[in-house]
């Protein structure tokens, strides 16, 4: 049924596009600011009143729009008083707009795509325009949010170009998922990663510590019109459980009535591996030799235009990149078609779009020790040879009559020839996304509109790795190994919402929404075919399914179907905003969910209140806007699929049966999150200075958790815990300079978050929860009562009270007071999350030149470099000089060579307290310098821009031996740690844009 509606609507919209009303004419003109320093105003919204038709002025303030006589054009621009002009015979209408002394009354997109005036919001919401996102374009648009929005923490994954991204709003609340919900044009986006690593060694089963990619990296940054971030649960309560970590609302571009406009942009960056360990000279030469200079090219094209009744937006973007690790190649194509139409005297609005995206990546970088070329590169410590001698990575083996791996010493599970790995353990990722959505809106009368939307969202993630014979036996069978994994995510979403608006009396207004939605998802539905480490291929180096050795009682090969989540959530919800004289607003929402994962429906409400101080009180003239807000929300969240219904799985041998690994201790109930926030917004001096200050406190209780099941089960599933986040967010907007030639816009964002595990599990004796499990390597990520999310555990070196390392009488450096309550005796060494973050974003315009720079800073928190510890074990670091120690054999202080000391405390299972670093860092995150070409009126082009851009150029301050903003996983595990992750890159490039 849904399919046929889609097809029908697509037909419909193509028919409509042909209709052009005869009496329309093209109105054009220039919009400038009024006054002595009159300047053209770019980006002014020009709409034909009473229709949805609208355009924006270009960089020189020019616009053109089709309208008929008698219709009214409305010109609106943030910070200026709107102007309306009636169309008559004249076809050129120039307008001079006056700067508004009144407060900004801009419109913000809120939950479910409902637009609200900013002053009525009872919670924090911050938005960012497309220009901000694409100035220094990133293949994954979400990376561009870092530092630009208060309270957003962005960690890019260590898998290079095309990798996924971790975004956290207001701290971590959940042991399951802390990523916000992404919503595109009102419809929840399916953003599930096929796989994220969580093993400090490297995942043998999945052939490496892989980042499976995410849906965000499959979006096209060019399609984004603006992004609004709703940080807290109050804002996102209407999205229900999915919105409990906040919501990122993405508004995409749509066609605008008028002449078809074509834009091209091209972006080339050159990327260099940076912030590497301090190797000794010999090793440094080898490492430098290994890394390539990477390049990224993004070419984007879009066409937009249409009639008063039907508009089209089409875009195509391709991305070609080669990474800093040789043979790493990325190809990505995205295609987007969007049709908007207004029918039945503009009563009916239709909006249909289809997004197609495909990305293929060769040798996507991984972390950990296994299948990772960086281990062999950093470990290469031959005294006589160079790493480049081993670019010839194979040699003929007469015993086997095949080409075998070649390396300067015996290979091991962790150490192989890096060029062998790149060529003979090569991997291919192929990710695709299809997103089709349709929205219909019918306006019955002044106060009632009904809207219905649906989307079909699908991700495909395909992965294969072909491992040739003579790869180490831990990682491969003697004849090689072939792993093929096909993962599909599917989400169907539909909603119907009635939107009601009314002024009840002179002073009171009411707006309300009542709706219902349904979401059905199949996530991580996969087929895994793996000839295995403990199985084999029949014939060496033939990578086909028919070459698998299939035994009857074997543990391997693995031929499996899996599904991570299969559920349906049905909801009804309502929200209402009551306004009093535009001074006070009361916001109420309620939602009830039925989820297939829990047996009972669950209900949750929110309430918020806003007062416009600047309208209630007589304030000094310098204050143009003042508002306070407060809100409280509860959000329910369902649990993981199948946990309430544990069943057996098929065992490995003939007739084998394995009982469920997860057992619910008692029937599981939904989780609850309670959050409270207050805030205030002020603007001064004609909006040249403004700030927004907020405080929030969030408690997540009765959380769904998997804990160590002791002797009862592998894992017990329970509802427990109380995780508290509280913090302060502030943003300041500032225009320090504004005159004829120069305008400097600055934006400072500050966020501080405190997380405390107030309660973990009152019923059981279990003291901790492992986010990254304790194993033989000296790193784990644990949650313990009284601790906080992201606590890093490892082994602590025994030291004197004065801080000197102690060498015992046997000549060893040993562990200090191992914590008997963590298995492995691991001690708390640090926390991966920053104490506070600061972003300072600047845009300076001088005549046709624009300079932008973003300084991004994080203060506090710790990271561990297990890479450095392991490389110390290999002895390739630059460890010169002496280290002062206390020797118990002689009971005296002494010194030993640094090289010897670090080899003794290092290694992957060494004393990692000595590899903990302050994560504080301040960096020049983005820099761009651009020029807008002045064009003649009769020029074919409407605009030409060119800019030089730089990303991640340097650190003003950094303690860690790597870029601490990189994360090995975009899930909860492996935070605050580097284990041979692909190094961060410094990028410089060129950006050219044309439109005509």
């Amino acid at each position: 049924m849904r399919k046929s509606i889609l097809i029908f609507s697509a037909f419909l919209s193509f028919l409509i596009i042909e209709q052009v009303k005869a009496q329309e004419k093209v109105i054009s003109g220039t919009v400038t600011s009024k006054g002595e320093n009159s300047m053209p105003l770019p980006g002014v919204n020009v709409v034909v009143k009473g229709t949805s038709k609208g355009v924006q002025t270009d960089f020189d303030g020019r616009y053109s729009i089709e309208a008929s006589s008698g219709q009214i054009l409305e010109f609106s621009y943030i910070g200026f008083t709107s102007i309306t002009v009636q169309v008559d015979a004249i076809t050129v209408i120039d307008v001079a707009m006056e700067e508004s002394l009144e407060q900004l009354d801009d419109v913000v997109v809120t939950a479910l795509g409902i637009q609200k005036s900013r002053k009525s919001l009872t919670y924090a919401a911050q938005d960012i325009s497309a220009a901000e996102l694409t100035k220094v374009k990133d293949v994954n648009p979400v990376n561009s949010l870092s530092g630009k929005i208060a309270g957003v923490v962005v960690n890019r994954s260590a898998s290079g170009v095309g990798g996924s991204v971790k975004l956290t709003l207001r701290g971590n609340t959940s042991t399951r998922d802390n990523q916000p919900l992404y919503v595109i044009d009102g419809i929840p986006l399916l953003n599930n990663s096929a796989i994220q690593p969580n093993n400090s060694f490297g995942d043998i089963e999945n052939a490496g510590n892989r980042d499976g990619g995410d849906a965000l990296s499959l979006l096209n940054p060019e399609d984004i019109e603006s992004i609004t971030v709703l940080k807290g649960a109050s804002a996102s309560a209407l999205y229900g459980s999915q919105g409990s970590n906040g919501v990122v609302l993405i508004t995409t571009k749509k066609g605008k009535a008028g002449k078809f406009k074509t834009s091209f942009s091209s972006n080339v960056t050159v990327d260099q591996a940076a912030y590497l360990l301090d190797f000794n000279d010999r090793a440094q030469d080898n490492v430098d030799d290994f890394f390539d200079v990477g390049t990224t090219t993004i070419n984007a094209m879009s066409i937009s235009g249409g009639t008063e009744n039907a508009q089209t937006y089409f875009s195509y973007t391709n991305t070609f990149a080669s990474g800093v690790i040789p043979t790493h190649k990325v190809k990505k194509h995205t295609l987007n078609v969007r049709e908007t139409a207004q029918l039945l005297d503009n009563k009916m609005k239709v909006d249909a779009s289809i997004l197609l995206s495909t990305q293929s990546i060769r040798n996507k970088p991984i972390s950990g020790f296994y299948y990772n070329p960086l281990v062999g590169t950093y470990a290469f410590n031959s005294e006589t040879e160079n790493l480049s001698n081993y670019e010839t990575f194979e040699e003929f083996n007469s015993e086997r009559n095949l080409l075998a791996q070649r390396w300067f010493r015996a290979t091991s599970d962790i150490e192989q020839n890096p060029y062998w790995i790149l060529n003979r353990n090569a991997s291919d990722d192929e990710n695709q996304k299809l997103l089709a959505s349709l929205s219909l809106q019918y306006k019955f009368n002044d106060w009632l509109t009904i809207q219905t939307r649906g989307s079909y969202d699908k991700n495909f993630y395909k992965f294969e790795r072909k491992i040739h014979a003579t790869t180490d036996g831990t990682l491969s069978a003697p004849n090689g190994r072939y792993l093929y994994n096909d993962v599909e995510d599917t989400q169907l979403y539909g909603d119907i919402i009635a939107i009601l608006n009314a002024d009840i009396s002179e002073s009171f207004s009411i707006s309300a929404n009542v709706g219902t939605s349904i979401r059905k998802s199949d996530l991580g539905k996969s087929v895994l075919l793996d000839s295995g480490v403990r199985g084999d291929l029949k014939i060496p180096n033939i990578f086909t399914l028919s070459n698998f050795v299939v035994g009857t009682t074997g543990v391997n090969p693995i031929l499996e179907q899996r599904i991570a989540e299969q559920k349906e959530v049905q909801s009804i919800f309502a929200s209402t905003t009551l306004g009093y004289n535009d001074l006070l607003f009361l916001d109420l929402t309620a939602r009830n969910d039925w989820s297939s994962t829990v047996s009972d429906p669950f209900f949750y409400p929110s309430v918020g209140l806003t007062a416009m101080l600047s309208e209630i009180f007589e304030l000094p003239e310098s204050i143009t806007y003042a508002k306070i807000r407060a809100s409280y929300a509860e959000v329910g969240n369902d649990i993981q699929s199948f946990v309430n219904n544990p069943i057996n799985t098929i065992g490995t041998g003939a007739g084998g049966l394995t009982p469920p690994t997860i057992l619910p201790l008692t029937e599981l109930q939904p989780e609850t999150q309670r959050s409270f926030e207050i805030g205030t917004e002020w603007k001064f001096f004609n909006n040249r200075l403004g700030f927004d200050l907020g405080y929030y406190k969030t408690n997540t209780i009765d959380q769904f958790m998997l804990i160590d099941g002791g002797v009862a089960a592998d894992f017990l599933a329970i509802n427990a815990g109380d995780f508290e986040n509280k913090g302060i967010e502030a943003s300041i907007t500032l225009v320090p300079i504004q005159n004829d030639n120069v305008r400097w816009d600055a934006n400072i964002n500050f966020a501080q978050n405190d997380n405390e595990i107030k309660e973990l599990d009152p019923r059981l004796g279990r003291d901790f929860l492992e986010l990254t499990p304790i194993d033989v390597n000296s790193y784990a990520l644990l949650i313990r009562k009284g601790g906080s999310f992201g606590d890093i555990y490892g082994r602590k070196l025994r030291k004197t009270p004065g801080g000197l390392p102690i060498r015992n009488a046997d000549g060893n450096f040993t562990q200090a007071d191992p914590d008997q309550n963590t298995r492995g005796g691991f001690d708390l060494l640090g926390n991966a999350n920053p104490d506070f973050a600061l972003g300072w974003n600047n845009s300076i315009t001088y005549k046709n030149f624009t300079l932008n720079f973003l300084i991004d800073a994080k203060f506090g928190g710790e990271v561990m470099s297990l890479t450095e510890a392991a490389v110390d074990g290999f002895g390739t670091l630059n460890r010169t000089g002496e280290v002062r120690i206390f020797d118990e054999a002689t009971n005296a202080e002494t010194t030993i060579p640094a090289r010897e000391y670090y080899q003794m405390i290092g290694g992957r299972n060494g004393l990692t307290s000595e590899y903990i670093y302050d994560a504080t860092n301040i960096r020049l995150a983005e820099l761009s310098f651009g020029y807008n070409f002045k064009l003649q009126d009769n020029s074919f082009f409407t605009s030409i821009t060119a800019s030089i851009i730089g990303r991640n150029l340097f650190f003003f301050y950094k303690d860690a031996p790597y870029d601490p903003n990189i994360s090995l996983s975009t899930a909860n595990g492996l935070q605050g740690i580097d284990i041979f992750g692909s190094p961060s890159t410094q990028s410089i490039g060129l950006n050219v844009g044309l439109s005509f």
Partner: protein, 538 residues
Amino acid sequence: MKNISKTILKTAWILSLLFSSCTDDFDSLNTNPNGLTDEQSEADFISIGGPFNPIFLNIYRYDPAWNTQLQHNLNADTFSGYMAPPRPFVGGVNTTNYGFVDFWDQFPWDIPYSSTGVMQNARLVKERGEEDFPLMYALAQILRVEAMHRVTDVYGPIVYSKYGLDATFAEYDSQQEVYNQFFEELDQAINTLSTDPTNGQFAKFDLVYDGDLAQWIKFANTLRLRLAIRVSKVDPAKAQIEGEKSLSDSGGLLETNADNFIIKGGVTHPLTIFNSSWNDVRMNASMESILVGYNDPRIDEMFEISNVSAGMYKGVRGGMPLLDGYTDELDQKADYEIFSRLGDSYILDKAPTTSIQLMTAAEAYFLKAEAALRGWNGAGDAQSNYEMGISISFAQYGLSGNAAVYIADNTSTPIDYIDPVNASNNISALTTTTIAWNNGDDNETKLEKIITQKWIAMFPDGQEAWSEFRRTGYPKIFPVVANNSNGTIDTNIQIRRLPFPASERSTNPQGVAGARVLLNGPDTGGTRLWWDVNSGNF
């Protein structure tokens, strides 16, 4: 206004209609399509037979190999004098030299209690089949005893009779209680199997005897004899009763190598991985001293000539620290990984075995030999059992022709150990006992011979070898080079157990507190288990 409220009501009514009946498929949605419900697994008796598969594959875990390394290799396999790691793990302070590594020491515990372990799966067989499939339940009981005696012999008190009663707290049994239950369960199981020994319903699930229940009876009898001998010092009366039951049972004991209890998992033996891929395990110096000293031809099958001393077998001392002169673990490992590897059966590109051997017919004869020394009825003659044990073991390696000369050798003794890389590891042989039986010897000397030969025959099952070493003090294996126990373990007496595992300390603290009381001693590696009596063997 009236219109608005009407509309809201109408909308709500329509919405409520939408929801009246569409949550019907929630139950099927919340069922994993790749799993089996209990009803679905009833076909072909999979629900009863299926749980045996994980039991077989995890008594000695097949996969992943690093689990097995921590389950048996970096503890019992080293403590037993069979093998030793060439690498001084964790900076030279690790479980092999009594510097306990919490993360390692929980694996002997965690595996049997996991979803693929024996406890959960035997319980499922009991729940589903105790009434209707008594034979199957009897087999599960035998396997549970086989698996769990290995666990209680590591830690002492374990969770056994109170298993599964409460998910949040599990009470331990003392080792004596556990052993008494073992004997009861074996009694029941042997009786049940004896009622219908030709029943074939287990055939398709059996990874050892292809469903031949008569063989299972032999195994159960031998297992009971093993356990009886184990408690012969602490509770001689009970031991004799239980032992004589086995000796007199019409089902008999393991007799030929065809009877050996060998799990045919179909996958490479995990020792292969840490022997030939990770190079984390080598021949133990004690093994070299005894096998080379005795000119034992089985050494060619069990080990490889080393690359450190031309043409010679060379073992590694157990419990090495990071020795003087080495900068780090890998540096030292580079010197020791060229010592003798385990033989072809455990080398990836040679002839890796897929069989896990947990009991041999040779052992049955050595058990009978000791039973004879202890005067148990039905044990037969000590000497002939002893010599039969050796012959059967030789036959197992295809060396039958060499057995007679070996058995008659009354001059060869274990040799002194010389470490060609670090002379500080050199140590003199601890015994001058020879191979040939001498009826004039005292029982203690005879027992040393029996246990020494049993030790060679049981290779590579270090868990059982370590238990018998603790019980009898034989064979005379070399002590650890370094002792990091802070005085809790005597270097010469050697390690008696592993401390209660960290997984239990963190998930079941109340249970562990009770277990510590049952232990009758501090929770260290130096405290003797219940059957480990500190006195002479006779």
